[in-house]
Amino acid sequence: MNADRPLVRIRNLSKSFGSKQVLYDINLDVGAREIISIVGPSGSGKSTLLRCINRLEEQELGEVWVGDDLMGFDVRENEARRLSPAALAVQRRHIGMVFQQFHLFRQMTVMQNMIEGPTRVLKMSRADAEQRAIRILEKVGLASRTGAFPSELSGGEQQRIAIGRSLAMSPSILLFDEPTSALDPERVGEVLDVIRDLAAERAAAIVIVTHELDFAREISNRIIFMDNGAIDRIVAPDALLNEPTDTRFGRFLGQMYANRRHLDLPKPATEPTEKKKKE
């Protein structure tokens, strides 16, 4: 693979649900170790775009390349043939995803969740998989809960396990679909801490859809603002602070921060965030 070719290449992607078009001609590159946040109003197509990257959603038009793979297709010479679901599964192996609702396998313990992919898909030995799982669980701070069922864990703990489960596959890219939106406010921090550490390691590319603007600004290389199914702006993180209030992006930022003020939460920090200080 060409070293300076971006890991993910999205070309002229358009997508509809029935008669409603939700993505308009999206073009985006994600570098091999890049961290990108996608922000925007609800219904703007953020999650759908994310789900097109691992082909949980199929687009009508355009291409998604991840590494050497054209997602969903087998490319030979100048022909692209649609892959069977089983072959598509192989393409998905190195694309991790973390969902808003965690989706841990309910009938399995934490450890079983952690080793299911490595043992069944990567054919790793059980002992190796468990060893790796313990290392990852230590990193997300839950090594003591290996025997628990997901239903016995808090939302924040479940989400940290879910992140661990996708890390166990050693993905080259991690997709986060609003990972903290379903959590109680006091549980958001512990999940963001885990993602922040991952981002600092630069072990994989990260694309995160989030409403946590300060967090996005802190960890991202670039921030993408989506509106009405299109990429409205791609900006450097600090541009969030200098965005004029009369653009669509500026109005969105104003609304987000106004909501927070209304809820009596801390105002956006002008210094590289308060969360850093806590550590």
Partner: protein
Amino acid sequence: MSVLDEQPVLGSGPAMDEKHLVYVKPRRFGVWISGAVLAIVIGQALFTVVRAPALDWPTVGKYILDPRILAGVGNTLILTVAAITIAIVIGVLLAVMRNSANPVFRIASALYVAMFRSIPLLVLILLVYFLAILVPRIGLGLPFLDPWVSVDTNDVISPMSAAILALGLGQAAYTCEIIRGGIFAVDRGQREAAMTLGMRPAMVFFRIVMPQAMRVVVPGLGNEAIGMLKATSLVQVIGFTELLTTAQRIYGQNYETIPLLAVVTIWYAVLTTIGTVGQTQLEKKFGKGFA
């Protein structure tokens, strides 16, 4: 201006002494009366049946462990287990086909269910048993051409194989629907999470979807299995010697009809109880993680 109508201020009534309250148990006359009525009805029914001269208890005792009856119980169990096994295997297959992306599979599955649900079980048993009249030879070969190898249908269809086939194939249609219900109940996110780990569709189904569907499927399936236990008595029409047929043959000779039917009833009750216990255990097993 409040949108609520004006309400009297709570606690503005006459002052009450809050101390020295004696808490009186409610008198539940309804429970006592209905309990007494039920006890009388059951008591009278038992009294009538147990004391009935036709119900000759020593005869019941004599036949309950009779080797022929025990063989009949064994055959009933074999029939039940074989038919339910066939029903589950074909039922799962039909449910998978029904959810397939391939429209031919979907239609084939729907046709199967429609056909077998519309044939009464008794008719199905007779049809399979008399299959030889409709299809004299069963063969293997190309469609519409003479088969390469074939066997006489009568050699394949015995009372036992006909009974197992009819019960199993018929039940598969119902089992398919129960399993489909279970699959519907599994959160779509579970499937997506498995897919993002790179699991193939078959693996997603057997490792994630089916184990979770089982939680919902077991009560329905237990119901069907216990129903099957008793539905096996229908195969007496083709003369397979399960429990009921065995009893009928015995009372056909000695005319101890009622005692032998009591023996049959007791055995079905015992088997049903065992089945119910098994179902409870399965429910516990598949309920793990669903607090």
